[in-house]
């Protein structure tokens, strides 16, 4: 056999830009049946919560704040799950074999996923607000009262921030655990089991009660939901966020960069 011309690799070719990767990651969130329904569930869950409030709340209690809060609870579960699956499906469904051969710089993929999840989180919250506003208008009309708009713009923003932080907790669990079921269970442990343990500890130990807001992220982010945090509360979000978000996420990303994809 004749020898063919040598093949050279073009190292001057442009790489894959981050913007394109974000687009790809957004598309991946929608283009499976389960992903599509998960995304749609943002609107569905918001609508169900709105209807439930109209049915069960007293007409005089109706306010936009009530709707925003009612919708926020299921959102705090849906958004982190979206973030978790965006990361873990690369491992659980093994699509990472293609994703990481097309883009060997895993950090870019992880960054694109985080940005895509945050975009979805913010957009989802805005949609939820819109549905809540419609609920407030409709519900008040049904009850025969004037609609009450009691939530400040700042508070609307801090609620979005709280949800984005929750979403990033999901993202962190995703990169740490890299398994869909495991990370989702992890998120439920984080948001339901750990608060009761820490709450009990604070209840029974005085010294811990003072410490808790500084190290318990769940607890520290609560002021974001009502009214917005004070200066000290922002500092508490910072310190507890370092423990629950920044350090574990750094470790998780490091593990993703080092790990074997198979």
């Amino acid at each position: 056999m004749s020898t063919a011309a040598p093949i050279t690799i073009d190292t001057a070719r442009p790489g894959v830009p981050l913007g394109r990767l974000i687009k790809v990651e957004l598309r991946k969130m929608f283009n499976t049946r389960s992903g599509f329904w998960l995304m749609l569930s943002i609107a569905i869950v918001a609508a169900i919560a709105t209807v439930a409030i109209i049915i069960f709340a007293d007409g005089d209690d109706l306010s936009f704040g009530l709707f925003a809060q009612g919708i926020g609870i299921p959102m705090a579960i849906v958004l982190p799950v979206i973030a978790i699956l965006s990361v873990t499906s690369e491992w659980s469904q093994r699509t990472g074999l293609i994703t990481f051969t097309l883009v060997p710089h895993r950090g870019s993929i992880i960054a694109a996923k985080a940005i895509a999840a945050i975009i979805v989180g913010i957009a989802g919250m805005l949609i939820a607000y819109a549905i809540g506003a419609l609920g407030n208008i409709g519900g008040s009309a049904i009850a025969g009262v004037d609609p009450v708009w009691d939530t400040s713009l700042v508070n609307l923003v801090t609620i979005i921030l709280a949800n984005v932080l929750g979403l990033l907790i999901g993202f962190t669990l995703g990169v740490l655990i890299r398994n869909s079921a495991g990370a989702i269970v992890g998120y439920f442990v984080y948001s339901f089991v750990i608060p009761s343990i820490l709450g009990f500890l604070a209840f029974s130990q005085d010294w811990f009660e003072k410490l808790q807001p500084w190290i318990d992220f769940n607890d520290a982010t609560l002021p974001l939901f009502d009214g917005g945090p004070s200066g000290e509360e922002w500092a508490q979000i910072g310190t507890s966020g370092l423990i629950w978000l920044v350090i574990p996420m750094t470790f998780g990303i490091w593990a993703v960069l080092k790990s074997e994809v198979k």
């Binding site: 894959v16 074999l97 198979k262």
Partner: protein
Amino acid sequence: MITVDRLTKTYGGYRAVDDVSFECRPGAVTGFLGPNGAGKSTTMRIIAGLTPATSGSALVSGVNYPDIPNPGTQIGVLLDASAQHAGRTGREILALSALTMGLPMSRVDEMLQLVSLTPSESKRRVKNYSLGMRQRLGIANALLGDPKILILDEPANGLDPAGIHWMRGLLREYANRGGTVLLSSHLLHEIEVIADEIIVIGNGKIVAEGTKAELLQTAGTFVKAGDPSALANALTSAGLTSAPSGDGGLRTEADPATVGKAAAAAGVALVELRPAEGAGLEEMFLQLTAETQRETITPEGAGA
């Protein structure tokens, strides 16, 4: 061109890939042959930057895989056709890759046509794909960016004979146009059909390599008789050494004429007598497989 140099990968104390060196040249299909667990997939994952090597290097035309910009447009990789999101359609999977590489969507249709996935099949979700359809989709995905180098792990796995024939034609033409292909298989027959050059790996080590012609050409004769022990005696008394080969036959270094005479002299009726082409490779491969064999075949009733 792919250059693997003294590559080693250990898991704990276990050497999955042990000091492996080889080269794949352009214009040829290089077959990577080895029994289950030999280290083929591990080697390929290291080349594609998915698994870090313990020591040694694997370069693609002198470049480390992670340093290749937009690698999909320069190297096509298929590591596991089943590693797909089951809920995505075949077309969507190719569309995601095309989008990542910055290719026009028309390329997706071209590739679907190339691997003979019909428009209706391409709109099905991958969980409803047959194994062969998944392989075709995986090959389409590897070829999408029009790369000059292909790395395919067990691409023929699950293909029917017509599919294997199709793939041979596809890869043959690809190599003739100057492309480099590295493909693995645990089946000697598949590699014989498709590859020009063969690298045999067993227990993480390279045990043979060369062109197909070199490896398949073995001096000597393959001979088989109805009564194997009578044949063995006949050969021994004629001063010819022989070793068991294949199913019930013997292989000897002597040429067929000499072997035929020896059998005739002893009055042994032969069933088969031919030059031992490929028998050497087959024996070596069988032996390799036997060493790593997971279950011992116990004849029924034995030991009872």
